[in-house]
Each structure stands twice: as C-alpha cells, then as structure tokens.
C-alpha cells in the first residue's frame, strides 16, 4: 500500500498551526486564573479582521497587525468583565464569543454580500514543494519561535512568575506586591492576541478568503487541549499535533478508496472523539491552577 505519510505529516503541521497559536494564548489566560471561553469568537474575529484588512489594503503585515489588535480588544473586553467587574467567566466568555461571531458575520454581510466570494492575497508556503518542510510562515513561527519563547517566559521570566503567582494564589501575590488586576489584564490581552492571530491563519494563510463558520469549534478544541496538556506548553503543542494528525488522517482516508464507504462526517468527527477519549483516559485528577475561575477582590 502506498500510504502518503509525508503528505499526512505535512498536513498535520498545517492543521495544527491555528490550534497551537490559540492554545498557547489560552495557556497564558488560564495560568493567570481566567478561563476564556471567548476563544472561539476571538479566533473568528481575528480571522475576519485580518481578511477585511487584507482585502482593503492588500498588505498582509497590516492585516496581521489588525488581527492582533482585534485580539487585544477582545481580551480587554473579557478582562473588563471578569477581572474588574467579577462577572461569571463562563457567561462572559460565551457572550463574548456570540457577540464577536455575530459582529463579524454582520460586517461581512454589509461589506461583501451580493458578490462573488472575495479573495485576498495570502501568505505563501516557505520552501514550497519540499514535502514536510513546505509550511506557512506562521507554522514555523509558531513551533520554532512562539512555543519555546512562551515556555521560557512562563518558566523563568519575571512576568511568567508573576503570572503564575496570580493564578495560583492571588492573595499571597497581592500581599507580596504583585499587581493582580494589571497582570490579569496583560495576560488576557496577550493571550487573546495570540488567539486572534491563530484565527487569522485560516484566512490569511490557508484559505485566502472568509467563510461563515470558518473556525468551526477549533476554539473549543483548544480549551480541551490546554486541560489535556496540564497547562504546560509542550504537552499542549503535542496535543495540538495529535489532533492535527487525526484531522489530516481523516482527510486522507476520505479520498482513499478503501475507506470511501465510511461516512465523511464520521471522519470529521473522529478528531473530536479522540480528544474526548484522551480527556477521559488521561484527564483524571487534573490539578487546576489554584485560582482558576475565581475573581480576586481586595476588600
């Protein structure tokens, strides 16, 4: 049998890229104690804003910058709700997701309806044609720059230690002089920026256009990946690659004659089921960051 392993592995890296970016952003948020269910909406908004900017300006760097700013704004909104006002994090997140998706779709209808699908410039793969190494720039940046940088920051930098202290025990952090609210704001804005950029991969690298439901639940997958990876950078990256592999595999199997009888939808569902099973098998006794989901109030 001639199984195209290289092609599947190459596809794995591509599929995993938006997940890696967004999940790393989620790690930053959750380590500081905030569960950001606005991730799905933030990725969506990042994808859309990047797409619109590219469509109107033709500049990909401008598009990335706009996407990043959209993420920062989304993070600031979540921070205002959960850190300053102490709103329930689940509700704030779902509300943010719903709002961002509706707003993006609305703007999309306003600007681009009634015409053919708008196509923009997009990034090209580096080392095109070289099989496994033919990847988009964001894939390289994500795996080789962002992940190691975040790993180092969390582990050894002042900011990383403050972040972890705030997420573990905000009372002690406060008494030790660490500004809890400011740290959480920074964490949310930075994390959301990464989520938005992860979304922008879908429009600016992968597709070159925007479609409704472009994110299709990847944000939720990232939430699962972060728990699965115990809030640590490299296990989360590994989880993203696992999911990417399953997804790439089902894409490949869908066109393989032997598996053509298997319904397409089952194949697409497979990665989700794999993640749930992984959680079921390895998810027990997970130790959440100490201050997970709790707002901190200094009376």
């Amino acid at each position: 049998m001639n199984f195209p392993l290289i092609a599947v592995l190459a596809a794995t890296l591509t599929v995993a890229t938006p997940l890696i970016w967004a999940a790393l952003g989620a790690i930053i948020n959750e380590r500081a104690g905030i569960l950001n269910l606005g991730i799905e909406g933030t990725m969506y908004a990042g994808a859309f804003v990047g797409f619109v900017t590219a469509a109107y300006s033709g500049s990909l760097s401008l598009a990335l910058a706009a996407s990043l700013l959209a993420g920062v704004a989304a993070g600031a909104l979540m921070a205002l709700l959960t850190v300053t006002l102490g709103v329930n994090q689940h509700v704030a997140g779902i509300g943010t997701t719903l709002l961002l998706i509706a707003a993006s779709d609305f703007t999309n209808r306003l600007l681009f309806s009634g015409g053919s699908q708008q196509v923009t410039a997009k990034f090209d793969r580096w080392f095109a044609g070289s099989g496994l190494f033919s990847q988009y720039p964001m894939t390289y940046v994500g795996l080789l720059l962002l992940a190691p940088a975040l790993w180092w920051v969390l582990r050894s930098s002042g900011f990383g230690l403050r972040l972890r202290a705030v997420g573990e025990n905000p009372e002690a952090a406060d008494a030790a002089g660490i500004p809890v609210a400011a740290t959480r704001y920074a964490a949310l804005m930075l994390g959301a920026a990464l989520m938005a950029l992860g979304g922008s991969f879908l429009t600016l690298s992968l597709l070159g256009t925007f479609t409704l439901d472009i994110v299709s639940g990847r944000g939720w997958i990232c939430i699962a990946l972060v728990i699965f990876g115990r809030w640590k950078v490299w296990p989360v990256v590994a989880g993203a690659l696992l999911f990417g592999f399953t997804d790439a595999l089902q894409l490949q199997l869908a066109i393989t004659p032997m598996f053509s009888a298997v319904p397409n939808e089952l194949m697409i569902a497979l990665p989700y089921l794999v993640v749930i099973s992984a959680l079921a098998i390895w998810g027990r006794g997970v130790r959440y960051p100490g201050a997970y989901l709790s707002a901190y109030r200094r009376a």
């Binding site: 025990n169 009372e171 406060d174 008494a175 200094r298």
Partner: protein, 528 residues
C-alpha cells in the same frame, strides 16, 4: 522616670520624638457598617504597641489600611511625620512596614521568592522547620526588606508556650534596635507581658490608649467590653504574680457559678460511649496525617484535643464529620458504626458538628432560616413540598432558644461572626446529638458570645452527650474540659487531666516531648 519590665526607656518620657508611624483620623465604612471611626494611633520607634479589641472592633481593617491592602475613606497615614499614601502593599513595604499573620507560610515563601525571581521548592525549605522557626524566618525576612515597623497579627496562635517566649525575646531585641511593633492579640496575659502601650478599639473607635506598665488583664478586659465582668468570662487570664514579669506556673481556672462538678459515668455499666475512635489512620503524601488514633469520649464528658496547628486536628475533624475517608480504622457514635456512612447518615446517627470553617459551613446565598433547616429538610415535608409554616415555627423556636439576633429571612452572610456561630451551634445541637465534635468554637468571638458557647457545651455534657473539643486556646481547654488529649504528628502523644494540667506540661507534649524515654516509641500512641 518609669522603666518598663523590658528594661527599655519608654518612648515619650524623654523629649517628644517623631512617631515612627501615625494613623490620624482614619475612617472606613463598608456600606452601613463603620469599621473605623476617626481612629488615631501612634507607634514610636522601639515601641511595642498592643492593639486590642473584640472581633469586629476594627483591628484588622486598621492594619489592612496601614499595610495598603485597603484605602481609608478619610484620614491620613504619616510615616516619620510625613503624610504617605498607602495604595498597595508595595507602598507599605517601601515605607518599611512589614506584616506577619497566620497565613500559610508556604504561600508567602512562594510569593516572596517569585518577586525576587528565584525558582524555589518551598516544600523543601519550609517542611523542615517547626512553626516557631518559621515565624522567626518571617521576621528575618521582614528585616531583610528594611522593615522598620512590624505588624504582628495573632502571632502566638500557633505557638507552644516555649516558642512564645522565644518570639517575645526576638521582639524585645528588635524593639531595642528601634523597630516599632504593632502586636494584635486576644491573649491578655501576653499583651501585659510584651507591650509598652496598649490601644483598645471598640466598635471602630479607640476608647483607650494607655501605658502597659502595671496594667492588669482584668482591667483591659473591662475596658474592652465596657463592663466589669464576672470571673466566668476571664478563664485563665490572670497572672499568678504580675510583678514578677514571668508567666505563672499555675494559672487560675475560673470555677463558673452554678455549674456542677461533672461526674464521669461508670463505663463498667456498658452504656455505649458517645464517640469511639479506633485505630484511625489517614495516609498522607509523605507521612500519615493521622496515625493509628484511638480515643473514646464517654457520655457526659468533654474531651479536649490540644496540639500545635497542623498536627492532625483538621484532618481528624474532617474524618469524623465524614468529609474525608479514613484509610483504616473505625468510628462509632453511640454504638453505631459510622465509618462508612455518608454525612447525612452520620447526622441521623446522632453526630453534631461545629467546624472551624464557619463560612464554609453555611450557604451564603440562602437565608438564616434556610441554612438552619438545611440538614433536616425531610422533617418539614408536606407531601412532595416543603411546609413553610412548620419551618418558620421551628426556626423561631431555635432563634429564641439560642439567642440568634436576626430575622429568619435575612441573608446568612449579613450576620456577625458571633451570630453566625450561634446559628451553627443551634444547627449542631438542636437535634440533641449523642456526640458533638467542636473545632475552635470560640475563635474570634467576643467575651459574651464565648460565655454563651461554654454554657451550651456544659449543658450538653450535663444532658449526657459527649463532646470532643478541638482548640488552640489552652485556657479554653483547661477551663472547660474534663481531660485533654494532645495530638502530635497525627497521633495521640499524651493525655492529661484538665484540672491539674499545667501549661508547661501541655507545651512539652505539644512539641513531642513526653519526658519518658519509653514513651518516645511512636507505636505506642493511644489514649482512652
């Protein structure tokens, strides 16, 4: 010129010097509650100021304001005579103010280390120190950060008498070097021993600021509550010889009026014991948290559990209440084996529980009434529904009997500490339990409320119930218990008769010294 017991010249006796720290006209309100009402306090360099007051008098609020964790509505803070804004603990630390309270030493080490940017394994450092040493580490750390004013909030709560003496030694040495100390404590005999001046807060106001020399604990207590109290409330707070400046060996156990001397029932009759704990062990990560514990509480007796915090008391209470499952061993209440039973069944078997975590024992979003009946809802059924009428009736009776000052429909979170404790007490004993497990029942309560709790416990005993009283207050234990069992490293290291025990004896046991080489064998740990 008067020289105080410590040998240092009292500040203010010579030319007036600039106070180290001053709080002037500090007012702080929370909604309708005035926590601090135009409070003015001064601490001079080298002075130990004791800050006293009942629970709710405003001491914690004041020190939080001084430490930057809270902002006053009005008033100012002066450091060395200069008005200073304390908008966060960093400001306070920059001004040279350090704070040590009962908070977990581990998290403080972690936070402090992370500020400096060092990755530490706090378990490695802290586990090997005893509590007293940890306190000293904290003080040393405070010094390291150029601390000039130290706030000690109930520092002796977790210390044995020997360690208290060492702590006071350190405080005297520091104050001789010019460091100011604000010392918050409920323990009047300690205050008399260590303080240069005493400031008393009541209902948010400073009602007295006096020199400590020659002050009697009784006088302080009277000032605190505003009345002269009967002996009943001042269990053990008098010094044997105030002039000697040394804690007395024997201390007064106040005999309350009207209480009969408890008789220990005859176990030979075979009546079931109130609470029977056999061979209970609870596995821990490194060592057992409870180690082959065997203990019996007979009907009509109060058994006290003494020990330094962290030696298994919390775990024992948790296991008895059914919140944690023991690894091995059995527990029986009134003859019924409850080891494998859930919480609801334990309650039905006659176990009453009063834990130290008050806030965690009530549901804050529900009313007083709903919390009171939460444990026995099925009693108030009418068909599939709840009978509001019967609930209201029952609750009114309880609130009358236990002097709970609130409305049944008030949210439970609006109750004061004392009232909430009465609610929990009512819930724990209104069903006439066979055995009551009570942990730190009077912590943070004012003298009147303490009195009330003691009288309820004695009434229980007189009625034939057995009470297991876990407390860090040695005076409380010796004052009300029949016998006291000491926990050390999760096991029972010794037992003393309450009437004849001395603080030194208890202190030795609490630190693991039985004084008998034979008894050093850890496998022989049980008391019945």
């Amino acid at each position: 010129m008067r020289v105080s017991a410590h040998g240092a010249v009292p500040p203010g006796a010579a030319a007036p010097e600039t106070p180290l720290a001053e709080l002037v006209g500090i007012t702080k309100t929370f909604g309708a509650v005035v926590a601090n009402d135009s409070v003015t306090l001064r601490v001079a360099p080298g002075e130990v100021l004791a800050l006293l007051g009942e629970n709710g008098a405003g001491k914690s609020t004041l020190t939080r304001i001084l430490f930057g964790l809270s902002q006053a509505d009005s008033g100012e803070i002066l450091i060395d005579g200069v008005p200073t804004r304390m908008s966060s603990p960093s400001d306070a630390m920059a001004a040279g103010i350090g704070r040590i309270n009962r908070a977990d030493a581990r998290s403080r080490v972690l936070a402090a280390a992370e500020r400096i940017g060092v990755a530490v394994n706090p378990d490695a450092i802290v586990e090997t120190l005893s509590v007293g040493e940890r306190q000293r580490v904290e003080i040393v750390k405070a010094l390291f950060h150029d601390c000039r004013l130290l706030i000690l909030d109930e520092p002796t709560a977790v210390l044995v008498p020997q360690d208290v003496a060492l702590l006071f030694d350190s405080i005297r040495r520091l104050s001789r070097q010019g460091m100011g100390v604000i010392f918050i404590s409920h323990k009047l005999h300690e205050v008399v021993e260590i303080a240069d001046r005493v400031s008393i807060l009541r209902r948010g106001r400073v009602i007295a600021s006096v020199d400590a020399a020659g002050l009697q604990p009784r006088q302080i207590a009277a000032l605190m509550v505003g009345t002269e109290l009967a002996d009943t409330a001042l269990i053990g707070s008098e010094l044997a010889d105030p002039e000697a400046g040394v804690p007395g060996d024997a201390f007064a156990t106040a005999i309350p009026e009207g209480a009969a001397t408890p008789t220990i029932p005859d176990t030979a009759t075979g009546a079931p014991t109130a609470l029977h704990i056999t061979g209970v062990t609870l596995k821990g990560a490194a060592r057992p948290l409870l180690d082959n514990l065997t203990l019996t509480v007979r009907s009509g007796e109060i058994v006290g559990i003494a020990g330094v915090s962290g030696n298994g008391q919390t775990e024992l209470v948790s296991v008895l209440c059914g919140m944690t499952a023991a690894t091995t061993g059995t527990i029986a209440v009134g003859g019924t084996d409850i080891t494998t039973l859930g919480v609801a069944e334990r309650i039905r078997a006659g176990l009453g529980r009063l834990t130290e975590d008050r806030r965690g024992s009530v549901v804050p979003g529900l009313s007083v009434e709903q919390n009171l009946v939460l444990e026995d809802l099925d009693q108030f059924r009418r068909g599939p529904f709840l009978s509001r009428r019967r609930i209201r009736q029952h609750v009114r009776t309880l609130m009358d009997r236990f002097d709970i000052r609130a409305n049944p429909t008030d949210p439970i979170s609006s109750l004061s500490g004392g009232n909430m404790q009465k609610v929990l007490l009512a819930r724990a004993i209104s069903r006439g339990p066979t055995a009551l497990v009570a942990s730190q029942p009077t912590r943070g309560l004012d003298v009147g409320a303490c009195d009330y709790v003691y009288s309820q416990l004695r009434a229980l005993r007189a009625g034939g119930a057995g009470v297991l009283l876990v407390s860090e207050d040695l005076d409380e234990l010796t004052g009300i218990c029949d016998r006291i069992v000491v926990l050390f490293s999760g096991g029972i290291i010794g037992e003393v008769d309450a009437a004849s025990a001395s603080r030194e004896q208890l202190g030795l046991l609490m630190t693991g010294h039985t004084g008998n080489p034979v008894d050093q064998d850890p496998s022989s740990r049980s008391a019945s």
